[in-house]
C-alpha cells in the first residue's frame, strides 16, 4: 500500500504572528516557517504504518512556494520516500478547495491506500481540505484521528469528538485526518537530513493537474485579536464568591 501525505509550510508555532500594517494579512517577511504540526503527526503516522509492514511507500506532497521544498525535505528526512512540490507563486494563498482538487488529481495518479492529512493547518485553521478531498473522490473519511489501525483492506479510526471517542471502520482507499494526540512525531536525525537531499523531489504546477487556483474567497480585513483587559482584585474570599455568583458561574 502507498500512503499519500500532504504537508503545508506555515509560520512556526513558536512565532507570535503579526498582522500587516495595512490589515491585508499576516506578516510573513523574515518569519521562521515550519511544517504544519498536524501534518508532522500525519507524516509520523504514515511512517509508523510503514514500519509495521502495512505500507510500502510514503509520498509527501505540498502545494506552496519554492520554499515549501524545505518542508518536503523535512518530511523526507523524517522517513518519507519521495516528494511532489506543486509550486505556486510566493505570495499566492491556495484555498482548501483548490488544494483538495490538486490532491484528488495526484491521488488518481498515485492510487494511495490512504491519504493522511493534518486535520487543519495552524495558518488559517480552515479544517476543510481532508473533508473536501473525501467528497470530491467519493471515498470514506476518518477525521480527527486519535488512533489509526490498518487491517487488510480496511482502516479503523478512533475519532476525537466532543465528549469522547468515536470508532469508525473505513474500507480502503480512504481519507484520514490526524488530531493532536495521535502520536508524538520524531525529529529528523542529522544523518537523515543529509540523506533526504538524495531522495526524489518532483516539481509540478497546478496547471499540470488542470486545476484553477484562483481564489473563491475574498479577505476583507485581518486584525489582531482584542487585547485582553486586566482583571480586578478582590479584597477577600467573600467578595470573590459574591462576584462568581453574580456572574452565574456557580
Amino acid at each position: 500500500m502507498k500512503i499519500l501525505v500532504p504537508v503545508k509550510r506555515v509560520i512556526d508555532y513558536n512565532v507570535k504572528p503579526r498582522v500587516k500594517a495595512d490589515g491585508s494579512g499576516v506578516d510573513l517577511a523574515n518569519v521562521k516557517m515550519s511544517m504544519n504540526p498536524f501534518d508532522e503527526i500525519a507524516v509520523e503516522e504514515a511512517i509508523r504504518i510503514r514500519e509495521a509492514g502495512k505500507a510500502e511507500e510514503i509520498v509527501v506532497v505540498s502545494v506552496g512556494p519554492t520554499k515549501a521544498q524545505e518542508t518536503l525535505r523535512t518530511a523526507l528526512a523524517m522517513g518519507a520516500d519521495r516528494a511532489i512540490l506543486v509550486q505556486v507563486e510566493d505570495d499566492v494563498d491556495v484555498e482548501p478547495l483548490a488544494v483538495a482538487k490538486i490532491l484528488k488529481a495526484i491521488a488518481e495518479q498515485e492510487n494511495p491506500g490512504i491519504v493522511m492529512l493534518g486535520k487543519q493547518s495552524i495558518s488559517d485553521d480552515s479544517n476543510q481540505t481532508g473533508q473536501m478531498l473525501a467528497a470530491l473522490m467519493g471515498r470514506p473519511q476518518g477525521t480527527f484521528a486519535n488512533t489509526v489501525e490498518v487491517d487488510g483492506d480496511s482502516v479503523t479510526v478512533k475519532r476525537e469528538i466532543d465528549g469522547g471517542l468515536e470508532t469508525v471502520k473505513l474500507s480502503l482507499p480512504a481519507i484520514v485526518t490526524t488530531d493532536l494526540r495521535l502520536n508524538e512525531p520524531r525529529y529528523a536525525s542529522l544523518p537523515n537530513i543529509m540523506k533526504a537531499k538524495q531522495k526524489p523531489l518532483e516539481n509540478k504546477t497546478p496547471a499540470d493537474y488542470g486545476v484553477d487556483i484562483a481564489p473563491r474567497l475574498k479577505t476583507l480585513k485581518v486584525a489582531e485579536p482584542p487585547v485582553r483587559s486586566a482583571g480586578i482584585k478582590v479584597a477577600d474570599v467573600d467578595e470573590l464568591v459574591a462576584k462568581i455568583k453574580a456572574l452565574g458561574i456557580a
Binding site: R18, D27, A29, N30, V31, K32, S34, Q69, E70, R73, T74, A77, Y187, A188, S189, L190, P191, N192, I193, M194, K197
Partner: protein
C-alpha cells in the same frame, strides 16, 4: 522588515543555507523534548544520565563530525554532507537551555575522541569510537594536573613502560565528565622533559589504581567534574594513542576545534542574555514607562548586539578558514577571548537590566552569569590566549 530574532541571524549570512536550518530545527526539537524539561533535575544531580547520551546518539547529535564507518553522522567536509557551520549550529542550539554543563558534559567526546581518530591505531579506533558515538560509553580528556593546566609541555603524570604494559602514576584535575567517564584520553610523560616526552594513552577507568573525587563548582552544575588519581595503574601498550612521545602535537591540534566550539557557545549564551534582557525590558515598567524606553537601557542592549555581531563575524571567518584549509591558531586564541569577553559583558548587562530578578536562582540569565568564568578560563584562559596569540603573530 521585522527585527531578527535569536535564530534568524543566519538568514543574512553567506555561510548558512537550508541544510543548516534543518539541522537547527532537528537539534532544537531534540533539546526541547529531551533536555529542557530536565535542566533543574540534572543541575541538582550534578551529572547527566547515561540515557541522554544514547538519545543524543540516536538523534545524530553525538555523531556530527565523526566518520560514518565508526557510527558517526559524517566527518566535516568528507562524508555525510556536513560542513563546519553545521557543527556551529548544533553547538548554538545545545546552549539554548542556558545550562553550560549540559553541552559540555554531553560532548566531552568532542575533545576525548579526536586524538584517537587522528593518530590512534585502527584496532583502538574500532574498539572505542563506535561505543562512544552510540552513547554507550563516555570518554573524557585528561590534560590538566593539580600542579598546572596550560603548561602541557611540563606535565608530570608518568607512564612507565614495563614489558607489554605502561604503569601510570600521577593525578589529573578539572576533568569534565571525569566521574562518569569509562575512558580517559590521558596525557602522560613517557619520555624526558619538555614537549618531546609527552604521549597520549587511553585508560579505562575501571582499571585497578584509578580513584576519582567529585569537584563542586560555581557553574556547569549539570556536569560532573573530577580529580582523578592514578596509582600504579597498569595499561596495555596497545592503548597508546599514536607514536610514543608524539602526544604534544595531537593535544595542540585538538585546541583549534575546541576553541571554535567554545566561542560559538559563548556567543550563544551572549545572544540568550540579550534575548532575555530585551524581553524583560519590554515588559518591565519603571516610574510609569517600559524599561526599554530608557536611554541607559537602550545603550546597554545596543552594545550587547554590537559585540555579539562582531563575535559572530569573527567566528564565521574562523570557521571559514577551517573549511577552506587556511586556519591559523593565533586567530582561534583571539577568537576565544573575543567570545568570552562578549559573553561576560552580555551576562553582566543582562543582570543589570533584569535587576533583582537576575539574582534569584532558577532563571536563565542567572545561570549563564555563573557560566562566565568556566568559559573565560577553561580551554585556555584569556591571559594564556593573549600570550599564545602574541607568540603566534610573531612578537
Amino acid at each position: 522588515m521585522t527585527a531578527p530574532l535569536f535564530d534568524q541571524w543566519r538568514a543574512r549570512s553567506p555561510h548558512y543555507d537550508d541544510s543548516h536550518e534543518a539541522v537547527c530545527d532537528s537539534v532544537r526539537a531534540f533539546v526541547t523534548r529531551e533536555i529542557m524539561p530536565h535542566v533543574a533535575e540534572w543541575e541538582a544531580a550534578g551529572e547527566l544520565p547515561r540515557e541522554l547520551h544514547r538519545k543524543a546518539a540516536a538523534a545524530g547529535v553525538l555523531g556530527l563530525g565523526y566518520p560514518q564507518e565508526y557510527g558517526g553522522s559524517g566527518t566535516i567536509g568528507h562524508d555525510g554532507g556536513f560542513d563546519i557551520f553545521h557543527s556551529l549550529v548544533q553547538s548554538e542550539e545545545l546552549c539554548r537551555p542556558g545550562a553550560g554543563g549540559i553541552p559540555a558534559s554531553l560532548q566531552t567526546h568532542g575533545i576525548g575522541l579526536p586524538p584517537i581518530l587522528a593518530t590512534g591505531s585502527e584496532e583502538l579506533k574500532r574498539r572505542i569510537a563506535p561505543q562512544v558515538l552510540a552513547g554507550e560509553k563516555v570518554i573524557c580528556l585528561g590534560i590538566t594536573e593539580p600542579g598546572g593546566g596550560s603548561d602541557v609541555a611540563n606535565l608530570r603524570t608518568r607512564a612507565e613502560r614495563r614489558g607489554s604494559s605502561y604503569f601510570v602514576n600521577g593525578a589529573k584535575t578539572l576533568i569534565t565528565s571525569g566521574m562518569r567517564a569509562d575512558y580517559i584520553t590521558l596525557a602522560v610523560r613517557t619520555g624526558g622533559a619538555g614537549i618531546g616526552g609527552v604521549s597520549l594513552l587511553l585508560v579505562e577507568t575501571e582499571r585497578a589504581g584509578v580513584s576519582r573525587t567529585r569537584l563542586d563548582k560555581m557553574g556547569w552544575l549539570a556536569s560532573d567534574t573530577a580529580t582523578i588519581h592514578f596509582d600504579d595503574v597498569e595499561v596495555p601498550a596497545e592503548n597508546l594513542i599514536g607514536p610514543e612521545n608524539a602526544g604534544f602535537g595531537a593535544i595542540m591540534r585538538n585546541f583549534n576545534g575546541e576553541r571554535l566550539g567554545m566561542a560559538q557557545q559563548a556567543a550563544a549564551y551572549a545572544r540568550l542574555c540579550y534575548e532575555d534582557a530585551l524581553d524583560w525590558a519590554r515588559q518591565r515598567e519603571t516610574f510609569g514607562k517600559p524599561l526599554v524606553t530608557r536611554q541607559a537601557i537602550r545603550h546597554k542592549l545596543a552594545r550587547m548586539l554590537q559585540m555579539i555581531h562582531a563575535t559572530q563575524a569573527m567566528i564565521d571567518r574562523a570557521a571559514w578558514t577551517v573549511k577552506t584549509g587556511c586556519a591559523f591558531p593565533g586567530d582561534f586564541a583571539l577568537l576565544k577571548v573575543q567570545a568570552t569577553q562578549t559573553m561576560e559583558y552580555c551576562a553582566r548587562e543582562a543582570c543589570q537590566i533584569l535587576g533583582g530578578a537576575s539574582f534569584v536562582r532558577g532563571g536563565r540569565v542567572e545561570r549563564i552569569y555563573r557560566e562566565v568564568r568556566v568559559m573565560a578560563i577553561g580551554g585556555g584562559s584569556e591571559e594564556i590566549m593573549y600570550d599564545l596569540a602574541s607568540r603566534q603573530f610573531g612578537f
